[in-house]
């Protein structure tokens, strides 16, 4: 079997409100904490949807659009940087599993 990249994998996910450009974020990340005092920046590797990335300068960035609502970052982050909630069915993103 061909090895799948994360974008190929996420390409198989049905997201809600995909057409909405103004979707409301359901997770807020205080990246100032990630980029100053956090000793591990673990979300950049533990998040199964790779919503947390490091740029060339080593700065952490977060985007919620690819989030599959698994909850991982809420537990993995022990620095108080992640404020996690469920996406609003109407105005948010989030998933619609076809198989689950």
């Amino acid at each position: 079997m061909k090895r799948l990249s994360i974008s190929e994998r996420l390409g198989l996910v049905s997201y809600r409100n995909q057409a909405r450009t103004d979707a409301k974020a359901h997770i807020e990340v205080d990246t100032d904490i990630c980029n100053s005092t956090c000793p591990h920046q673990c979300t950049t590797y533990v998040c199964p949807a790779k919503c947390y990335t490091l740029d060339e300068a080593g700065e952490l960035h977060f985007q919620f659009e690819d989030c599959i609502e698994c909850g991982t970052c809420m537990y993995a982050c022990d620095q108080g940087a992640v404020k996690w909630s469920y996406p609003d069915p109407e105005t948010g993103r989030g998933v619609n599993w076809n198989f689950g």
């Binding site: 079997m1 090895r3 799948l4 994360i6 994998r9 996420l10 198989l12 996910v13 809600r16 591990h40 673990c42 590797y45 533990v46 199964p48 949807a49 790779k50 599959i68 609502e69 698994c70 909850g71 991982t72 809420m74 537990y75 993995a76 022990d78 108080g80 996690w84 909630s85 469920y86 996406p87 609003d88 069915p89 989030g94 998933v95 619609n96 599993w97 076809n98 198989f99 689950g100």
Partner: protein, 440 residues
Amino acid sequence: MEEKFDCIIVGGGIAGLSAAMILARADARFLLIERGEFCGAKNVSGGVLWGSDLNELVPDFGDSPEGFERFINHRRLTFMDDQSAFSLDFKSAHFEQTPYSGVTVLRSKFDAWLAGKVEAQIEQGTHSESSFLATDILVQEVIQESGRVVGIRAGGEDFFADCVILAEGVNNLLTRQIGIEPAYVPADHVAVGVKEVIEFDKSVLEDRFQLNGRSGLTNEFVGFCSDGVEGGGFLYTNEKSLSVGLVLGMKDLREKKKAPQDILNQFKEHPAVRDMLTGGKVVEYSAHVVSTGDIDAVPERLYDDGVLIAGEAAHLLLNAGKAIQGMDYAMRSGILAAEAVLAAREVSDFSGAQLSGYQKALENSYVLTDMHNFHDAVKLLHDPMMFGAVPNVLCDFGRQFFTIRSEPGQKSRHMMTAAVKRHSSYWDLIKLGAKAARAL
């Protein structure tokens, strides 16, 4: 303001729907709120529903198998190193009788099916116009008055009930809001599951896994599959697909700096797994946090004035090495929560003191009994030797034992000694064996 409900259930997963079925049978007036577009839309599991509780909710479900994927008559536990797989394999016609004691499910389909059964039950009662399964609505908060739960707020509206059952799943924000669990749940209380659903031509699947009609195989893996991280792998047969994935300890994953999707790739490329996946097409990639099944993670009290916590919101789950039991625990706790609500309704008392009967019922059922009894086994599985030295020793021994060279062979005990020396020590294995003897 509408007349209040007997009960509001938050979450239309297995725990919530099971509670709803019991309430509908008793002709109670209730509201179940699910944030997904339909019940099952937000749910992910491995997933095998173990045990026979489903038969209690949907008698003879096995005769009309549109809800589940396959019944399990074939179990396999595989220890693996980077090249080898050493399996314990058990198949029996004993498992072919209904009610089945394990069925594979895909939650998006299964939960929607179960919701249909609940709706049919509501239709038969006197509240067919006033009990609801309401989907696509997010519950924002639990409403409390002088310390007791009286209802919920959803979509800017308030809904009131004598009692609320929180069956919101492992990411239990409302359970935390009312203080039954602390606001921050540490990483060592959970794991993360990642999974792919891989589709096959049905006849290929049946031939490859020796499936007969609706029979199915479950295969769990320990060792190489988790790349040194606490946890293991699984492969389950669905009707026309496989569910293939990993469950990885969150704290260990963080400390070992590993990405779950990379470990999943590596697991799929193991020679023994690769050959089972050939020709398949990945149709979904999913992930979800899952409780570790350690009773230390279960909140002390699963009730309070006007509220009960059911399913994984209460961290009810057991993985003591023989199966990952989460959905049956959700089902039973949902049933018991609904029964506690009905008992409270009899005496018009929804205080915590009355609802504590729920916790007692859980203690008396397999749910908390097994979580207590197998606590040592759960801890044993978290021992690094279980996903390191043990599978390595077994695979090393297997490779020697099954190798036939055209030269004089060694006795098995010499092969075992050599294998143990390469990966561990007898002393470490004896210590582990002593722990295992106590645990099992």
